[in-house]
């Protein structure tokens, strides 16, 4: 087998074992394993490290458990606002975006910015215009990203004026960013 390596994360912070329900913990473990397998399959087939990290991140963006893509937390205005970046160590090429609201997989757009534009970072509406007009992305309604769990977290944060997950009352989610 060719030599390759892969590692992933799904967020860090105060994650309390004694308050984490067993089924939720299992769901997280399965989701992490799925993301690893998505990247591993590409590397095993001789694919690039860029394709592998994008595949692993897409897997987590599609899972509402994680704060990215579908499971993104809500802003004060009850919207999602997502950021992403990818970098290729081979040529130091990089692609990044911030503040997008209608992109299903921001990490794929980051790769498209890296490979399909002469820029490194695009923001907000401009990033979305590039996505729809030049990179073939499909407009994704905010409804796709809405989950009761994130809405409850927002209400919890608003009730005390907080703007971070660090003091959340949700046992699996006292994490940052």
């Amino acid at each position: 087998m060719a030599q390759f390596s892969l590692a992933i994360h799904g967020g860090a912070g105060t994650i309390e074992k004694h308050r984490m329900k067993a089924d939720l913990e299992q769901a997280y473990r399965h989701a992490l394993a799925d993301a690893l397998l998505a990247g591993k399959n590409i590397l095993m087939a001789g694919g690039s490290s860029v394709d592998a990290v994008v595949a692993a991140v897409v897997s987590m963006e599609d899972n509402p458990l994680f704060n990215a893509g579908r499971g993104s937390v809500l802003t004060h205005d009850e919207m999602v606002e997502m950021d992403a970046a990818v970098m290729n160590g081979k040529d130091l090429n990089a692609g990044a975006l911030c503040g997008v609201r209608h992109i299903k997989n921001p990490i794929v757009l980051a790769r498209d910015i890296m490979t399909g534009s002469s820029h490194v970072m695009l923001s907000g509406d401009g990033a979305e215009k590039f996505a729809f007009n030049e990179a073939g992305h499909v407009y994704t309604e905010q409804d796709y990203f809405f989950t009761e769990r994130r809405y409850d977290q927002l209400l919890d944060a608003k009730s005390t004026g907080r703007a971070a997950l660090s003091e959340s009352t949700f046992p699996d989610d006292k994490k940052h960013g």
């Binding site: 390596s5 590692a7 994360h9 590397l43 592998a52 704060n67 893509g69 499971g71 993104s72 970098m87």
Partner: protein, 134 residues
């Protein structure tokens, strides 16, 4: 926040990070994730890093490029560079965070200064190995 780092069979390193930011955020706030050198960085022959945590502190400490620089100019190992950054200035500034990183030889390292990080890598047989708590 989610992220990944990889070394492929051709020896190329890559890093990717994606996030929904902070609950209840306002004013178009942006953290470290999309900033090259803060939350995301990769350079062949050196390392690939993806970070997660308190974005404002990670930005101020340019975490990913600091790890890279310690290896490039200070000859620190990946493990030492990650440990020194995550448990150094950042911690002093009150920042909780974690990083995943891989070096040019394919060695993977996780470093965190908080009680948990959802994380995973492949074991020596290529099977998923996942962890959550410190």
């Amino acid at each position: 926040t989610v992220g990944a780092v990889a070394l492929d069979a051709s020896g190329n390193l890559a890093a990717a990070t994606s996030t929904g930011g902070l609950t209840n955020k306002r004013y178009g706030r942006i953290g470290d994730t999309p900033i090259i050198g803060a939350g995301t960085y990769a350079r062949n022959g050196n390392c690939a890093v993806s970070a997660t945590g308190m974005g404002e502190v990670l930005l101020r400490c340019t975490v990913a490029s600091d790890i890279s620089g310690r290896m490039r100019y200070g000859n620190q190992s990946l493990k030492d560079a990650c440990h020194n950054v995550v448990n150094g200035e950042i911690k002093g500034l009150g920042g909780e965070c974690g990083v995943v990183a891989v070096d040019a030889e394919g060695q993977v390292h996780f470093s965190l200064n908080c009680p948990g990080m959802y994380r995973g890598t492949l074991d020596t047989h290529g099977e998923p190995l996942v962890a959550i708590y410190d």
